[in-house]
């Protein structure tokens, strides 16, 4: 059991600011190299706060009628893309919140949006269809219907997109729209994480297991026995560690050597409620975790997946998500009570 350092500064987490929005926050994101932090909520509003002081910089209460579903920040941090229940994709100038343009994607919910690594393209999904757009909102191509609703999407490279749905992960060449590869597994895939080196695809499945494939040799494995469905997955920046949350403990698998097959994962115990968010620092094997009872913990992990807590802090509601600032020197958490808590992360 790792010992949690709890003092006024919560270990490495030092008080930054606290702000609040009026409704359930759905998505957040750092922009302008961490100068601003934006939050979209269930009422359909988007607001941006100064990343250091927490002062509100801009807000739009009618960004998406019915509510925000997802947001994504362009790679250089200047544009924010949002999708919502109104079936639309909207582009915002991160600096002042000016609406740049809106594109109608579907009649129903648009659930996912992700900028490509270069920022030249965007992928959005609504129902069973994925659409690729240019950074100016022009549609490039749309996929055929997936066998079921797309549950997650992630860019592999600037030319390749991965999607998850019931029973399979699909890789698309985003220039031609052709399928590069299809990895199948009979199960409802609820989460998707790609190792930054592009070799490993991991999916959490409704049946309380994590399934992963190595793209280099199409070898696949399954890790089961989670008490909850592992809806939270995160790869470390060096592609060595996969942190998974399917219950109160965090299970960390190491891809070092021949692992994780045949190895014992690291188990991080502290949270007293199911894990609701996981994110690795952009620069170190530091993991931030949040749970449904409102605790946020930062962990330092070794190459084998074991680790200890560097600090932790409570927030008011269930942690919806945690976001490392691009320089990994700050951490933001959004919670179900509308809270936005930002900490400075002390250098170790």
């Amino acid at each position: 059991m790792p010992k949690l350092v709890r003092n006024k500064s919560h270990g490495v987490l030092q008080n930054g600011f606290f702000a609040a929005v009026d409704d359930y926050p759905i998505a957040g994101g750092w922009g302008l190299n961490g100068k601003l932090f934006a939050v979209g909520d269930a009422s359909g509003s988007i607001q941006a706060f100064d990343g250091t002081s927490g002062r509100k910089i801009w807000g739009n209460s009618e960004a998406h009628v019915g509510g925000i579903m997802s947001m994504s920040v362009s790679s250089e941090g200047k544009q924010l893309a949002s999708v919502g229940q109104d079936g639309q994709l909207a582009f915002w100038d991160f600096a002042d919140g000016q609406l740049q343009h809106r594109t109608e994607i579907a009649s129903g919910w648009v659930e996912h949006v992700a900028w490509s690594k270069s920022g030249n393209h965007l992928a959005v999904s609504s129902g069973r269809v994925v659409t690729i757009l240019s950074s100016s909102g022009g549609k490039i191509w749309s996929s055929e219907n997936h066998p079921s609703t797309v549950s997650a999407l992630e860019w592999v490279t600037d030319q390749e997109l991965s999607t998850a749905c019931y029973g399979r992960v699909t890789f698309f060449n985003t220039s031609s729209g052709k399928e590069n590869e299809r990895l199948e597994w009979q199960g409802s895939l609820v989460s998707l994480a790609l190792s930054p080196d592009g070799n490993v695809v991991a999916c959490g499945s409704q049946d309380k297991s994590v399934h992963f494939w190595r793209r280099s040799n199409v070898q696949d494995s399954m890790m089961s026995g989670y008490p909850w469905k592992p809806s939270e997955l995160a790869f470390s920046h060096d592609s060595i560690l996969l942190a998974t949350g399917g219950g109160e403990d965090i299970t960390v698998w190491s891809f070092e050597g021949n692992g994780p097959e045949g190895t014992t994962p690291g188990v991080l115990e502290f949270h007293k409620a199911p894990i609701s968010s996981l994110a690795f620092s952009h620069h170190q094997r530091h993991l931030a975790s949040g749970c449904r009872e409102g605790g946020v913990v930062v962990w330092s992990l070794g190459r084998r997946g074991g680790g200890h807590a560097l600090g932790g802090a409570p927030v008011n509601g269930s942690v919806e998500n945690v976001y490392w600032r691009p320089d990994s020197r700050s951490l933001a958490a959004i919670d179900s009570k509308g809270g936005i808590t930002v900490w400075r992360v002390k250098k170790i």
Partner: protein, 448 residues
């Protein structure tokens, strides 16, 4: 299972045209003080006059282990997952399925997904039945049969389009299929909201609240025939049948309608409790007395009935008329046909694959034997068992044990103490092609 903080969900099922949308609109337009969110699976019917309506595409997810109880509705997990984040905006959810939906995965979603189970409670399954068309649908569609089998409430809708006798017959048929459901008749889905919302049908504390004895009253007779008779002598004839004797009570002046029949039935239950006089063939059968017709000799047996005043005579017989080829002849040998017939335990009447098996037994069950039996039953027949409910008297336990289940999902907990109450067991299973006699035998083998 239900906690006050969980949002209750009512599932509305029924074939296309059975009146789901009408009922939905009726609920939404009524002043009930509830903020209701509607999840719709069917497009293009009549519009819903309410703001918070979410469409979901039916997506049935099977899990890698192929277990049917793990089959859930992925679309609902997503939609409900999103609604969770807006739960301060509504306090009740109505989930309308397509006419062809299998209610199993819908119901299971509320038990199999931890996140959903922690935020929502399945309140009940309400199935609308188009009284005019259901008989044809039952023959053709597995889905409509399953929707009836899964229901907590059956709304027999469009009763204005069907004759009263047909309705009675239909109701009997539906009750046979699902003895756990409450049946309400209505026109244009006009029912009191309280008959469909806040049923707490999956709440173990409530499992038996509405069914203190759980089963429909069991009558000691299976069949009633009502005959309009003028004064004179009549001959009651029976051929060989399954038993060497048959109990009978005859009542006079019983109007040929359902209400009078019900009253007569209650009266006859008391008569049946009295000692039966044995009546041999050739003798007169007394009216308003419990008699036991002696049928040991083979071939046709005849008994005499004397009628003094014009009357409407009801025969409450231990077996159906069919079993003994029972008939009534006038003095001129012309057969008198009943003006009204009713079966009380109408087993096999429609040969529906889906039916209810009710088991009642006194005494205590051995928990190990029970577990082994139930485990085997659910493994082998779980796919065919849609719903189950009941209570058990477990040896060595001072409290009653209540349970309910959907397919292989079994949920049980200790209930109130037995106290001085005689310890007994009641179990009801609704399923397809269940061998009731074998199940009863196997359960009885679990008794100490």
């Amino acid at each position: 299972m239900n906690s006050p903080s969980k949002v209750p969900v009512t599932i509305l099922t029924g074939f296309l045209g059975s009146g789901k949308t009408t009922l939905l609109n009726r609920i939404l337009s009524e002043e009930h003080g509830k903020r209701i969110a509607v999840i719709e699976n069917e497009y293009g019917e009549i519009g819903i006059d309410q703001a918070l309506v979410i469409n979901a595409d039916e997506e049935i997810f099977e899990m890698s282990n192929g277990c049917i109880c793990c089959t859930v509705r992925g679309d609902l997990i997503r939609v409900l997952g999103n609604l969770m984040k807006r739960r301060d905006k509504f306090d009740y959810i109505l989930l309308e399925t397509t006419g062809l939906a299998d209610p199993g995965p819908v119901a299971q979603t509320f038990f199999m997904d931890d996140e959903i189970a922690s935020e929502f409670s399945l309140d009940g399954i309400v199935t609308l039945v188009d009284a005019h068309h259901i008989n044809q649908q039952l023959g053709r569609n597995q889905e409509s049969t399953e929707q009836i089998a899964f229901a907590d409430v059956l709304l027999l809708n469009k009763t204005d389009l069907v004759k009263a006798e047909e309705l009675d017959e239909l109701e009997t048929r539906l009750r046979e299929m699902n003895r756990l459901a409450r049946v309400h008749r209505c026109e244009r889905a006009d029912v009191a909201i309280s008959t469909v919302l806040n049923l707490e049908a999956f709440n173990l504390d409530q499992v038996l609240a509405d069914h203190p004895t759980f089963l429909e009253p069991e009558y000691p007779f299976e069949w009633t025939g009502v005959y309009a008779l003028s004064p004179g002598s009549y001959e009651l004839s029976l051929d060989d049948g399954p038993d060497p004797t048959m109990s009978l009570v005859m009542l006079e002046r019983l109007d040929p309608n359902e209400e009078a029949l019900q009253q007569g039935a209650e009266w006859c239950v008391r008569r049946y409790a009295e000692h039966a006089s044995k009546i041999s063939p050739g003798n007169i059968v007394p009216i308003d007395q419990h008699v036991e017709l002696q049928l040991q000799i083979s071939g046709q047996k005849s008994f005499a009935i004397k009628i003094e005043k014009q009357t409407s005579l009801a025969l409450f017989a231990q077996h159906t008329a069919e079993e003994f080829n029972l008939r009534l002849g006038a003095s001129d040998n012309a057969e008198v046909l009943p003006v009204l017939e009713r079966t009380w335990v109408a087993q096999h009447e429609h040969d529906d694959e889906v039916g209810s098996v009710a088991i009642e037994a006194d005494g205590d069950v051995n928990p190990n034997k029970l577990n082994a039996w139930l485990g085997k039953l659910l493994r082998e027949k779980g796919i065919d068992i849609f719903r189950m409910k009941g209570f058990l008297s477990i040896a060595g336990e001072s409290e009653r044990f209540v349970f309910q289940g959907v397919h292989m999902l079994f949920d049980g907990q200790p209930d109130r103490p037995w106290g001085n109450e005689p310890r007994h067991n009641q179990l009801v299973f609704i399923g397809r092609n269940l061998d009731g006699n074998a199940m009863k035998r196997e359960f009885e083998a679990c008794l100490n």
